[in-house]
Protein backbone atom coordinates (compact mmCIF):
# COMPACT_ATOMS: atom_id res chain seq x y z
CA UNK A 1 0.00 0.00 0.00
CA UNK A 2 2.76 2.40 -0.94
CA UNK A 3 2.02 5.66 -2.69
CA UNK A 4 -1.59 6.00 -1.59
CA UNK A 5 -2.16 9.35 -3.34
CA UNK A 6 -1.25 7.92 -6.77
CA UNK A 7 -3.26 4.79 -6.13
CA UNK A 8 -6.30 6.91 -5.25
CA UNK A 9 -5.87 9.07 -8.36
CA UNK A 10 -5.77 5.95 -10.56
CA UNK A 11 -9.24 4.80 -9.46
CA UNK A 12 -11.67 4.92 -12.36
CA UNK A 13 -14.44 2.62 -11.19
CA UNK A 14 -16.12 0.94 -8.25
CA UNK A 15 -14.12 -2.20 -9.03
CA UNK A 16 -10.82 -0.32 -8.78
CA UNK A 17 -11.84 1.10 -5.43
CA UNK A 18 -13.03 -2.24 -4.03
CA UNK A 19 -9.65 -3.70 -4.99
CA UNK A 20 -7.85 -0.88 -3.17
CA UNK A 21 -10.10 -1.32 -0.13
CA UNK A 22 -9.52 -5.07 -0.11
CA UNK A 23 -5.73 -4.56 -0.21
CA UNK A 24 -6.06 -2.27 2.80
CA UNK A 25 -8.28 -4.68 4.74
CA UNK A 26 -11.28 -2.39 4.16
CA UNK A 27 -13.49 -4.67 2.01
CA UNK A 28 -14.74 -8.17 2.74
CA UNK A 29 -16.73 -10.68 0.72
CA UNK A 30 -19.76 -12.25 2.41
CA UNK A 31 -20.09 -15.69 0.84
CA UNK A 32 -22.35 -17.36 3.40
CA UNK A 33 -25.90 -17.76 2.10
CA UNK A 34 -27.99 -14.79 3.18
CA UNK A 35 -31.69 -14.04 2.74
CA UNK A 36 -32.42 -10.63 1.21
CA UNK A 37 -34.57 -9.81 4.27
CA UNK A 38 -33.58 -9.41 6.99
CA UNK A 39 -30.10 -10.78 6.35
CA UNK A 40 -28.61 -8.04 4.19
CA UNK A 41 -29.96 -5.28 6.46
CA UNK A 42 -28.69 -6.96 9.61
CA UNK A 43 -25.17 -7.34 8.26
CA UNK A 44 -25.07 -3.80 6.86
CA UNK A 45 -26.22 -2.32 10.19
CA UNK A 46 -23.77 -4.41 12.20
CA UNK A 47 -20.91 -3.18 10.00
CA UNK A 48 -21.92 0.48 10.17
CA UNK A 49 -21.62 0.55 13.96
CA UNK A 50 -17.91 1.19 13.42
CA UNK A 51 -17.94 4.61 11.80
CA UNK A 52 -14.14 4.78 11.83
CA UNK A 53 -13.18 1.41 10.43
CA UNK A 54 -16.15 -0.43 8.88
CA UNK A 55 -15.26 -2.34 5.71
CA UNK A 56 -17.27 -2.41 2.50
CA UNK A 57 -19.14 -5.71 2.21
CA UNK A 58 -19.65 -7.53 -1.08
CA UNK A 59 -22.39 -10.18 -0.98
CA UNK A 60 -22.11 -12.94 -3.56
CA UNK A 61 -24.51 -15.56 -2.22
CA UNK A 62 -27.92 -13.96 -1.75
CA UNK A 63 -30.67 -16.58 -1.73
CA UNK A 64 -32.72 -16.38 -4.91
CA UNK A 65 -30.11 -14.26 -6.67
CA UNK A 66 -27.47 -16.83 -7.68
CA UNK A 67 -24.43 -15.27 -9.35
CA UNK A 68 -25.47 -11.73 -8.47
CA UNK A 69 -23.31 -9.37 -6.44
CA UNK A 70 -24.26 -6.57 -4.06
CA UNK A 71 -21.93 -4.07 -2.37
CA UNK A 72 -22.82 -2.02 0.72
CA UNK A 73 -20.75 0.25 2.92
CA UNK A 74 -18.33 1.32 0.19
CA UNK A 75 -18.21 4.82 1.76
CA UNK A 76 -19.23 3.45 5.15
CA UNK A 77 -16.30 4.52 7.31
CA UNK A 78 -13.79 7.34 7.69
CA UNK A 79 -11.02 4.90 6.82
CA UNK A 80 -12.67 4.17 3.47
CA UNK A 81 -13.07 7.89 2.83
CA UNK A 82 -9.41 8.40 3.76
CA UNK A 83 -8.27 5.78 1.23
CA UNK A 84 -10.43 7.42 -1.46
CA UNK A 85 -8.59 10.67 -0.76
CA UNK A 86 -5.19 8.98 -0.87
CA UNK A 87 -4.65 9.15 2.87
CA UNK A 88 -3.84 6.27 5.23
CA UNK A 89 -6.27 4.51 7.52
CA UNK A 90 -6.48 6.26 10.85
CA UNK A 91 -6.42 9.76 9.36
CA UNK A 92 -8.54 11.93 11.65
CA UNK A 93 -11.84 13.44 10.53
CA UNK A 94 -10.34 16.88 11.03
CA UNK A 95 -7.43 16.01 8.72
CA UNK A 96 -9.86 14.64 6.11
CA UNK A 97 -11.88 17.84 6.33
CA UNK A 98 -8.84 19.99 5.61
CA UNK A 99 -7.73 17.60 2.85
CA UNK A 100 -11.04 18.25 1.08
CA UNK A 101 -11.21 21.94 1.95
CA UNK A 102 -7.68 22.35 0.56
CA UNK A 103 -8.69 20.85 -2.77
CA UNK A 104 -11.63 23.19 -3.17
CA UNK A 105 -11.46 25.15 -6.38
CA UNK A 106 -7.72 24.82 -7.04
CA UNK A 107 -7.68 22.00 -9.60
CA UNK A 108 -8.78 21.60 -13.20
CA UNK A 109 -11.34 19.07 -14.34
CA UNK A 110 -10.09 16.37 -16.71
CA UNK A 111 -13.00 14.94 -18.68
CA UNK A 112 -12.54 12.45 -21.52
CA UNK A 113 -15.09 10.70 -23.72
CA UNK A 114 -15.13 6.98 -24.53
CA UNK A 115 -17.07 5.78 -27.59
CA UNK A 116 -20.18 3.90 -26.52
CA UNK A 117 -19.01 0.70 -28.18
CA UNK A 118 -15.88 0.71 -26.02
CA UNK A 119 -17.49 1.74 -22.73
CA UNK A 120 -17.53 -1.06 -20.14
CA UNK A 121 -20.94 0.07 -18.89
CA UNK A 122 -22.45 -0.94 -22.26
CA UNK A 123 -20.96 -4.47 -22.32
CA UNK A 124 -24.44 -5.94 -21.87
CA UNK A 125 -27.64 -4.22 -22.98
CA UNK A 126 -31.34 -4.94 -22.43
CA UNK A 127 -34.00 -3.07 -24.38
CA UNK A 128 -37.03 -5.31 -23.79
CA UNK A 129 -38.49 -7.61 -21.14
CA UNK A 130 -36.79 -5.47 -18.52
CA UNK A 131 -37.34 -6.60 -14.94
CA UNK A 132 -35.46 -4.56 -12.35
CA UNK A 133 -36.30 -7.12 -9.62
CA UNK A 134 -34.41 -9.69 -11.67
CA UNK A 135 -31.47 -7.53 -12.79
CA UNK A 136 -30.76 -6.10 -9.32
CA UNK A 137 -30.48 -8.14 -6.09
CA UNK A 138 -32.92 -5.83 -4.30
CA UNK A 139 -33.92 -6.02 -0.65
CA UNK A 140 -35.97 -3.95 1.77
CA UNK A 141 -33.54 -1.51 3.35
CA UNK A 142 -35.65 -0.76 6.47
CA UNK A 143 -38.46 -3.03 7.51
CA UNK A 144 -41.34 -0.59 6.95
CA UNK A 145 -40.11 0.88 3.69
CA UNK A 146 -42.92 0.88 1.14
CA UNK A 147 -41.00 -1.29 -1.27
CA UNK A 148 -37.59 -2.12 -2.67
CA UNK A 149 -35.41 0.93 -2.90
CA UNK A 150 -32.36 1.90 -4.88
CA UNK A 151 -30.70 4.12 -2.28
CA UNK A 152 -27.37 5.05 -3.88
CA UNK A 153 -28.22 5.93 -7.45
CA UNK A 154 -26.48 8.82 -9.16
CA UNK A 155 -29.16 10.16 -11.47
CA UNK A 156 -27.95 12.09 -14.53
CA UNK A 157 -30.22 14.31 -16.59
CA UNK A 158 -30.04 17.19 -19.00
CA UNK A 159 -31.91 20.42 -18.41
CA UNK A 160 -35.11 19.81 -20.42
CA UNK A 161 -35.15 23.47 -21.49
CA UNK A 162 -31.42 23.70 -22.32
CA UNK A 163 -30.46 20.15 -23.28
CA UNK A 164 -27.16 21.01 -24.99
CA UNK A 165 -25.65 22.74 -21.95
CA UNK A 166 -23.03 20.47 -20.32
CA UNK A 167 -22.92 22.50 -17.10
CA UNK A 168 -26.66 22.35 -16.62
CA UNK A 169 -26.65 18.58 -16.67
CA UNK A 170 -27.54 17.44 -13.22
CA UNK A 171 -26.12 14.49 -11.35
CA UNK A 172 -27.69 13.89 -7.97
CA UNK A 173 -28.46 11.11 -5.55
CA UNK A 174 -32.18 10.55 -5.23
CA UNK A 175 -34.06 7.68 -3.67
CA UNK A 176 -35.82 5.44 -6.19
CA UNK A 177 -38.62 3.02 -5.31
CA UNK A 178 -39.11 0.23 -7.82
CA UNK A 179 -42.75 0.26 -8.91
CA UNK A 180 -43.20 -2.84 -11.04
CA UNK A 181 -40.67 -4.53 -13.31
CA UNK A 182 -39.85 -1.50 -15.48
CA UNK A 183 -40.92 1.55 -13.49
CA UNK A 184 -39.74 3.52 -10.50
CA UNK A 185 -40.68 6.63 -8.57
CA UNK A 186 -38.12 9.31 -7.75
CA UNK A 187 -38.36 11.42 -4.61
CA UNK A 188 -37.18 15.01 -4.77
CA UNK A 189 -38.25 18.49 -3.66
CA UNK A 190 -38.61 21.69 -5.70
CA UNK A 191 -35.33 23.13 -4.39
CA UNK A 192 -33.29 20.18 -5.69
CA UNK A 193 -32.00 20.32 -9.26
CA UNK A 194 -34.03 17.26 -10.27
CA UNK A 195 -37.21 18.71 -8.78
CA UNK A 196 -36.61 21.87 -10.77
CA UNK A 197 -36.11 19.87 -13.99
CA UNK A 198 -39.23 17.73 -13.47
CA UNK A 199 -41.38 20.79 -12.87
CA UNK A 200 -39.92 22.54 -15.94
CA UNK A 201 -40.56 19.51 -18.17
CA UNK A 202 -44.15 19.19 -16.96
CA UNK A 203 -44.83 22.91 -17.26
CA UNK A 204 -43.55 23.03 -20.84
CA UNK A 205 -44.74 19.56 -21.86
CA UNK A 206 -41.27 18.47 -22.99
CA UNK A 207 -39.68 15.06 -22.37
CA UNK A 208 -37.30 14.47 -19.46
CA UNK A 209 -34.96 11.56 -19.95
CA UNK A 210 -32.63 10.37 -17.23
CA UNK A 211 -29.82 7.87 -16.76
CA UNK A 212 -29.58 6.17 -13.38
CA UNK A 213 -25.98 5.13 -12.69
CA UNK A 214 -25.35 2.38 -10.14
CA UNK A 215 -21.98 1.20 -8.87
CA UNK A 216 -20.01 4.28 -9.80
CA UNK A 217 -16.62 5.87 -9.51
CA UNK A 218 -16.49 6.42 -5.74
CA UNK A 219 -15.63 10.09 -6.22
CA UNK A 220 -18.84 10.75 -8.09
CA UNK A 221 -20.96 9.15 -5.37
CA UNK A 222 -19.46 11.70 -3.01
CA UNK A 223 -19.80 14.75 -5.25
CA UNK A 224 -23.22 13.94 -6.66
CA UNK A 225 -24.41 14.45 -3.10
CA UNK A 226 -22.57 17.73 -2.64
CA UNK A 227 -24.54 20.96 -2.80
CA UNK A 228 -22.97 23.00 -5.60
CA UNK A 229 -24.36 25.63 -7.91
CA UNK A 230 -26.97 24.69 -10.53
CA UNK A 231 -24.72 25.49 -13.49
CA UNK A 232 -21.71 23.63 -12.13
CA UNK A 233 -21.15 20.12 -13.47
CA UNK A 234 -20.84 17.41 -10.84
CA UNK A 235 -18.57 15.49 -13.22
CA UNK A 236 -16.17 18.39 -13.41
CA UNK A 237 -16.30 18.81 -9.65
CA UNK A 238 -15.61 15.15 -8.99
CA UNK A 239 -12.66 15.15 -11.39
CA UNK A 240 -11.19 18.34 -9.96
CA UNK A 241 -11.59 17.21 -6.38
CA UNK A 242 -10.09 13.79 -7.06
CA UNK A 243 -7.30 15.41 -9.11
CA UNK A 244 -7.88 12.64 -11.63
CA UNK A 245 -9.52 12.15 -15.03
CA UNK A 246 -13.12 11.00 -15.34
CA UNK A 247 -14.22 8.94 -18.33
CA UNK A 248 -17.66 9.68 -19.74
CA UNK A 249 -19.69 8.09 -22.48
CA UNK A 250 -23.25 8.50 -23.75
CA UNK A 251 -26.23 6.57 -22.49
CA UNK A 252 -28.56 5.14 -25.12
CA UNK A 253 -30.88 8.09 -24.49
CA UNK A 254 -28.16 10.69 -25.05
CA UNK A 255 -27.03 11.66 -21.56
CA UNK A 256 -23.42 11.91 -20.41
CA UNK A 257 -22.75 9.01 -18.05
CA UNK A 258 -19.68 7.45 -16.47
CA UNK A 259 -18.12 4.98 -18.89
CA UNK A 260 -17.05 2.61 -16.11
CA UNK A 261 -20.20 2.36 -14.01
CA UNK A 262 -21.56 -1.08 -13.21
CA UNK A 263 -25.15 -0.49 -14.34
CA UNK A 264 -27.10 2.31 -16.01
CA UNK A 265 -30.90 2.40 -16.16
CA UNK A 266 -32.29 4.67 -18.88
CA UNK A 267 -35.76 6.03 -18.21
CA UNK A 268 -38.26 8.72 -19.15
CA UNK A 269 -40.52 10.82 -16.93
CA UNK A 270 -44.24 10.07 -17.30
CA UNK A 271 -45.37 13.68 -17.55
CA UNK A 272 -47.85 14.72 -14.89
CA UNK A 273 -48.26 11.24 -13.42
CA UNK A 274 -47.78 10.53 -9.73
CA UNK A 275 -47.72 7.23 -7.85
CA UNK A 276 -47.79 6.44 -4.14
CA UNK A 277 -44.24 6.36 -2.81
CA UNK A 278 -42.82 5.62 0.62
CA UNK A 279 -42.42 5.44 3.46
CA UNK A 280 -38.64 5.23 3.46
CA UNK A 281 -36.31 5.17 6.46
CA UNK A 282 -34.48 8.44 5.89
CA UNK A 283 -31.30 10.08 7.15
CA UNK A 284 -32.85 11.79 10.19
CA UNK A 285 -33.45 8.26 11.48
CA UNK A 286 -37.19 8.29 10.94
CA UNK A 287 -39.54 7.23 8.17
CA UNK A 288 -40.75 9.68 5.58
CA UNK A 289 -44.47 9.72 4.92
CA UNK A 290 -46.37 8.26 1.97
CA UNK A 291 -46.62 10.73 -0.90
CA UNK A 292 -47.44 10.76 -4.59
CA UNK A 293 -44.19 11.03 -6.50
CA UNK A 294 -43.17 11.35 -10.17
CA UNK A 295 -42.85 8.05 -11.98
CA UNK A 296 -40.33 7.04 -14.64
CA UNK A 297 -40.62 4.27 -17.23
CA UNK A 298 -37.46 2.29 -17.95
CA UNK A 299 -36.51 2.23 -21.63
CA UNK A 300 -33.22 0.26 -21.48
CA UNK A 301 -30.60 -1.10 -19.11
CA UNK A 302 -26.87 -1.37 -19.80
CA UNK A 303 -24.43 -3.10 -17.49
CA UNK A 304 -20.95 -4.50 -17.23
CA UNK A 305 -20.50 -8.25 -17.28
CA UNK A 306 -21.20 -9.66 -13.79
CA UNK A 307 -22.29 -6.25 -12.51
CA UNK A 308 -22.07 -5.22 -8.87
CA UNK A 309 -25.24 -3.59 -7.53
CA UNK A 310 -24.10 -0.95 -5.04
CA UNK A 311 -26.57 0.11 -2.37
CA UNK A 312 -26.51 1.86 0.99
CA UNK A 313 -27.85 1.32 4.47
CA UNK A 314 -29.53 4.50 5.64
CA UNK A 315 -31.62 5.04 8.75
CA UNK A 316 -30.86 6.02 12.31
CA UNK A 317 -27.19 7.05 12.43
CA UNK A 318 -24.42 6.41 12.19
CA UNK A 319 -24.86 4.96 8.75
CA UNK A 320 -23.01 5.03 5.45
CA UNK A 321 -25.08 8.09 4.54
CA UNK A 322 -23.29 10.09 7.24
CA UNK A 323 -19.77 9.16 6.16
CA UNK A 324 -20.66 9.47 2.47
CA UNK A 325 -21.85 13.06 2.62
CA UNK A 326 -20.67 14.47 5.94
CA UNK A 327 -17.38 16.05 4.94
CA UNK A 328 -18.67 17.13 1.57
CA UNK A 329 -21.54 18.86 3.27
CA UNK A 330 -19.13 20.66 5.59
CA UNK A 331 -16.47 21.74 3.06
CA UNK A 332 -18.65 23.90 0.77
CA UNK A 333 -20.18 25.70 3.75
CA UNK A 334 -16.64 26.39 4.97
CA UNK A 335 -15.53 27.67 1.56
CA UNK A 336 -18.60 29.84 1.12
CA UNK A 337 -18.35 31.29 4.64
CA UNK A 338 -14.68 32.14 4.24
CA UNK A 339 -15.47 34.28 1.19
CA UNK A 340 -17.24 36.68 3.56
CA UNK A 341 -15.54 35.80 6.84
CA UNK A 342 -11.94 34.54 6.67
CA UNK A 343 -12.16 34.30 10.47
CA UNK A 344 -13.99 30.95 10.08
CA UNK A 345 -11.50 28.17 10.87
CA UNK A 346 -13.53 24.96 10.42
CA UNK A 347 -17.08 23.69 9.85
CA UNK A 348 -18.41 20.39 11.18
CA UNK A 349 -21.80 19.68 9.56
CA UNK A 350 -21.54 15.90 9.87
CA UNK A 351 -24.74 15.44 11.80
CA UNK A 352 -27.81 14.35 9.83
CA UNK A 353 -26.75 16.20 6.69
CA UNK A 354 -26.08 19.35 8.67
CA UNK A 355 -29.27 19.53 10.74
CA UNK A 356 -26.75 20.29 13.45
CA UNK A 357 -23.54 22.12 12.60
CA UNK A 358 -20.60 23.37 14.63
CA UNK A 359 -18.56 26.31 13.32
CA UNK A 360 -15.31 27.56 14.81
CA UNK A 361 -14.44 31.19 14.30
CA UNK A 362 -11.85 33.74 15.42
CA UNK A 363 -14.12 35.97 17.43
CA UNK A 364 -13.48 39.62 16.58
CA UNK A 365 -15.91 41.26 19.00
CA UNK A 366 -18.79 40.38 21.26
CA UNK A 367 -21.55 38.79 19.22
CA UNK A 368 -19.46 38.42 16.07
CA UNK A 369 -20.02 34.66 15.89
CA UNK A 370 -23.76 35.23 15.65
CA UNK A 371 -23.21 37.29 12.52
CA UNK A 372 -21.23 34.44 11.02
CA UNK A 373 -24.02 32.02 11.98
CA UNK A 374 -26.57 34.12 10.12
CA UNK A 375 -24.34 34.05 7.03
CA UNK A 376 -24.15 30.25 7.32
CA UNK A 377 -27.94 30.08 7.23
CA UNK A 378 -27.90 31.83 3.86
CA UNK A 379 -25.44 29.45 2.18
CA UNK A 380 -27.07 27.12 -0.38
CA UNK A 381 -27.06 24.19 2.04
CA UNK A 382 -27.84 26.32 5.07
CA UNK A 383 -31.09 27.60 3.57
CA UNK A 384 -32.80 24.25 4.11
CA UNK A 385 -30.61 22.17 6.37
CA UNK A 386 -28.59 24.06 9.01
CA UNK A 387 -31.12 23.92 11.84
CA UNK A 388 -29.01 23.95 15.01
CA UNK A 389 -25.77 25.91 14.90
CA UNK A 390 -23.20 25.84 17.67
CA UNK A 391 -20.61 28.61 17.35
CA UNK A 392 -17.26 28.02 19.04
CA UNK A 393 -13.95 29.86 19.20
CA UNK A 394 -10.99 28.99 17.02
CA UNK A 395 -9.31 27.33 20.02
CA UNK A 396 -12.04 24.67 19.97
CA UNK A 397 -11.87 21.85 17.42
CA UNK A 398 -15.44 21.47 16.13
CA UNK A 399 -14.67 17.84 15.20
CA UNK A 400 -13.81 17.00 18.82
CA UNK A 401 -17.14 16.83 20.63
CA UNK A 402 -15.42 16.77 24.02
CA UNK A 403 -14.01 20.21 23.23
CA UNK A 404 -17.37 21.41 21.92
CA UNK A 405 -19.05 20.29 25.12
CA UNK A 406 -16.39 22.17 27.09
CA UNK A 407 -17.26 25.34 25.19
CA UNK A 408 -20.96 24.78 25.79
CA UNK A 409 -20.29 24.21 29.47
CA UNK A 410 -18.07 27.20 30.07
CA UNK A 411 -18.85 29.82 27.44
CA UNK A 412 -22.60 29.66 26.98
CA UNK A 413 -25.17 31.71 28.83
CA UNK A 414 -28.69 30.34 28.70
CA UNK A 415 -29.99 33.66 27.39
CA UNK A 416 -27.27 33.93 24.75
CA UNK A 417 -29.07 31.90 22.14
CA UNK A 418 -31.14 32.91 19.16
CA UNK A 419 -34.28 31.15 17.97
CA UNK A 420 -35.40 32.10 14.47
CA UNK A 421 -39.01 31.02 14.11
CA UNK A 422 -40.85 29.80 11.03
CA UNK A 423 -37.90 29.26 8.75
CA UNK A 424 -37.70 26.87 5.78
CA UNK A 425 -36.92 23.29 6.78
CA UNK A 426 -36.31 20.00 5.04
CA UNK A 427 -39.68 18.26 4.84
CA UNK A 428 -38.34 15.06 6.39
CA UNK A 429 -37.11 16.75 9.57
CA UNK A 430 -39.36 15.03 12.12
CA UNK A 431 -39.18 18.02 14.51
CA UNK A 432 -40.52 20.55 11.99
CA UNK A 433 -43.60 22.54 12.96
CA UNK A 434 -45.14 21.35 9.75
CA UNK A 435 -43.15 19.53 7.05
CA UNK A 436 -41.05 22.15 5.30
CA UNK A 437 -41.25 24.82 8.01
CA UNK A 438 -39.50 25.00 11.39
CA UNK A 439 -37.34 26.98 13.79
CA UNK A 440 -33.60 27.56 13.75
CA UNK A 441 -31.36 27.65 16.80
CA UNK A 442 -28.04 29.47 17.17
CA UNK A 443 -26.05 28.78 20.34
CA UNK A 444 -23.19 31.18 20.87
CA UNK A 445 -20.54 29.18 22.72
CA UNK A 446 -17.74 31.63 22.00
CA UNK A 447 -15.74 33.52 24.63
CA UNK A 448 -16.75 36.83 26.15
CA UNK A 449 -15.12 39.81 24.47
CA UNK A 450 -15.42 43.57 24.94
CA UNK A 451 -17.75 45.33 25.35
CA UNK A 452 -19.12 42.37 27.32
CA UNK A 453 -18.24 43.22 30.95
CA UNK A 454 -17.59 39.62 32.00
CA UNK A 455 -14.51 38.94 29.88
CA UNK A 456 -12.80 35.68 29.23
CA UNK A 457 -11.67 33.53 32.18
CA UNK A 458 -7.96 32.89 32.74
CA UNK A 459 -7.61 29.65 30.82
CA UNK A 460 -5.40 26.71 31.50
CA UNK A 461 -3.35 26.14 28.36
CA UNK A 462 -2.38 22.49 27.95
CA UNK A 463 0.18 21.84 25.17
CA UNK A 464 -1.35 21.53 21.70
CA UNK A 465 -0.18 21.46 18.10
CA UNK A 466 1.66 19.17 15.74
CA UNK A 467 4.01 17.82 18.38
CA UNK A 468 1.15 16.71 20.62
CA UNK A 469 -0.77 15.29 17.63
CA UNK A 470 2.30 13.28 16.65
CA UNK A 471 2.77 12.03 20.22
CA UNK A 472 -0.87 11.01 20.37
CA UNK A 473 -0.50 9.00 17.17
CA UNK A 474 2.69 7.41 18.42
CA UNK A 475 1.02 6.32 21.66
CA UNK A 476 -1.77 4.76 19.63
CA UNK A 477 0.72 2.96 17.40
CA UNK A 478 2.63 1.66 20.42
CA UNK A 479 -0.65 0.41 21.84
CA UNK A 480 -1.57 -1.36 18.59
CA UNK A 481 1.96 -2.74 18.32
CA UNK A 482 1.65 -4.23 21.81
CA UNK A 483 -1.39 -6.16 20.61
CA UNK A 484 0.15 -7.64 17.49
Amino acid sequence: MNDLPNRARSISSLRDFLELLEDAGQAITWSDAVMPEPGVRNIAVAASRDANGAPAIVFDNITGYPGKRLAVGVHGSWDNIALLLGRPKGTTIRELFFEIAGRWGDQEAQISYVPEAQAPVHECRLEQDINLYDILPVYRINEYDGGFYIGKASVASRDPLDPDNFGKQNVGIYRLQIQGPDSFTLMTIPSHDMGRQIMAAEREGVPLKIAVMLGNHPGLAVFAATPIGYEESEYSYASAMMGAPIRLTKSGNGIDILADSEIVIEAELQLGERELEGPFGEFPGSYSGVRKAPIFKVTAVSHRRDPIFENIYIGRGWTEHDTLIGLHTSAPIYAQLRQSFPEVTAVNALYQHGLTGIISVKNRMAGFAKTVALRALSTPHGVMYLKNLIMVDADVDPFDLNQVMWALSTRTRADDIIVLPNMPAVPIDPSAVIPGKGHRLIIDATSYLPPDPVGEAHLVTPPTGDEIDALSKRIREMQLGALS
Binding site: E37, Y133, Q177, Q179, M187, K292
Partner: protein, 74 residues
Protein backbone atom coordinates in the same frame (compact mmCIF):
# COMPACT_ATOMS: atom_id res chain seq x y z
CA UNK B 1 -48.67 -20.42 0.39
CA UNK B 2 -48.29 -17.02 -1.15
CA UNK B 3 -51.14 -14.66 -0.30
CA UNK B 4 -52.20 -11.93 -2.68
CA UNK B 5 -53.63 -9.79 0.12
CA UNK B 6 -51.59 -6.65 0.72
CA UNK B 7 -50.00 -6.52 4.16
CA UNK B 8 -50.25 -2.73 4.19
CA UNK B 9 -53.71 -1.79 2.87
CA UNK B 10 -55.37 -5.22 2.97
CA UNK B 11 -56.55 -4.98 -0.63
CA UNK B 12 -56.54 -8.19 -2.61
CA UNK B 13 -55.28 -8.75 -6.11
CA UNK B 14 -51.54 -8.33 -5.74
CA UNK B 15 -49.55 -9.12 -8.86
CA UNK B 16 -46.44 -11.26 -9.07
CA UNK B 17 -43.44 -9.30 -10.36
CA UNK B 18 -40.62 -11.79 -9.96
CA UNK B 19 -39.69 -15.17 -8.53
CA UNK B 20 -36.25 -15.96 -7.18
CA UNK B 21 -34.84 -19.38 -7.93
CA UNK B 22 -32.10 -21.41 -6.41
CA UNK B 23 -31.02 -24.64 -8.10
CA UNK B 24 -34.16 -24.53 -10.23
CA UNK B 25 -36.66 -24.23 -7.36
CA UNK B 26 -38.65 -21.09 -6.56
CA UNK B 27 -37.43 -19.79 -3.18
CA UNK B 28 -39.45 -16.58 -2.95
CA UNK B 29 -41.91 -14.43 -4.87
CA UNK B 30 -42.04 -10.62 -5.10
CA UNK B 31 -45.59 -9.24 -5.12
CA UNK B 32 -46.96 -5.74 -5.60
CA UNK B 33 -50.29 -4.25 -4.55
CA UNK B 34 -51.85 -2.25 -7.40
CA UNK B 35 -53.93 -0.28 -4.88
CA UNK B 36 -51.26 1.18 -2.57
CA UNK B 37 -48.05 0.17 -4.43
CA UNK B 38 -46.66 -1.76 -1.46
CA UNK B 39 -44.32 -4.44 -2.71
CA UNK B 40 -42.94 -7.33 -0.74
CA UNK B 41 -41.21 -10.67 -0.85
CA UNK B 42 -43.19 -13.57 0.57
CA UNK B 43 -40.10 -14.76 2.48
CA UNK B 44 -39.93 -11.63 4.63
CA UNK B 45 -40.59 -11.72 8.39
CA UNK B 46 -44.32 -11.68 9.20
CA UNK B 47 -44.11 -8.35 11.07
CA UNK B 48 -43.30 -6.61 7.79
CA UNK B 49 -45.81 -8.30 5.45
CA UNK B 50 -48.59 -10.07 7.41
CA UNK B 51 -51.56 -7.73 8.00
CA UNK B 52 -52.46 -9.67 11.15
CA UNK B 53 -49.26 -8.72 12.96
CA UNK B 54 -47.90 -5.74 11.02
CA UNK B 55 -47.75 -2.39 12.86
CA UNK B 56 -50.86 -0.28 12.22
CA UNK B 57 -48.62 2.81 12.20
CA UNK B 58 -47.56 1.87 8.70
CA UNK B 59 -50.97 0.95 7.30
CA UNK B 60 -52.31 2.73 4.24
CA UNK B 61 -56.03 3.50 4.03
CA UNK B 62 -57.10 2.09 0.67
CA UNK B 63 -60.41 3.95 0.97
CA UNK B 64 -58.78 7.37 1.28
CA UNK B 65 -55.82 7.56 -1.07
CA UNK B 66 -56.61 11.24 -1.67
CA UNK B 67 -55.11 12.10 1.72
CA UNK B 68 -51.58 11.44 0.51
CA UNK B 69 -49.97 14.63 -0.80
CA UNK B 70 -48.73 15.02 -4.35
CA UNK B 71 -45.19 16.37 -4.61
CA UNK B 72 -43.91 18.93 -7.15
CA UNK B 73 -47.15 20.73 -7.89
CA UNK B 74 -46.90 23.67 -10.28
Amino acid sequence: MTTTVCGRCKSSGAVTDHQGRQDGAVVWTILRCPTCNFSWRDSEPARAIDPAVRSADFAVDAGDLQRYPKILQQ
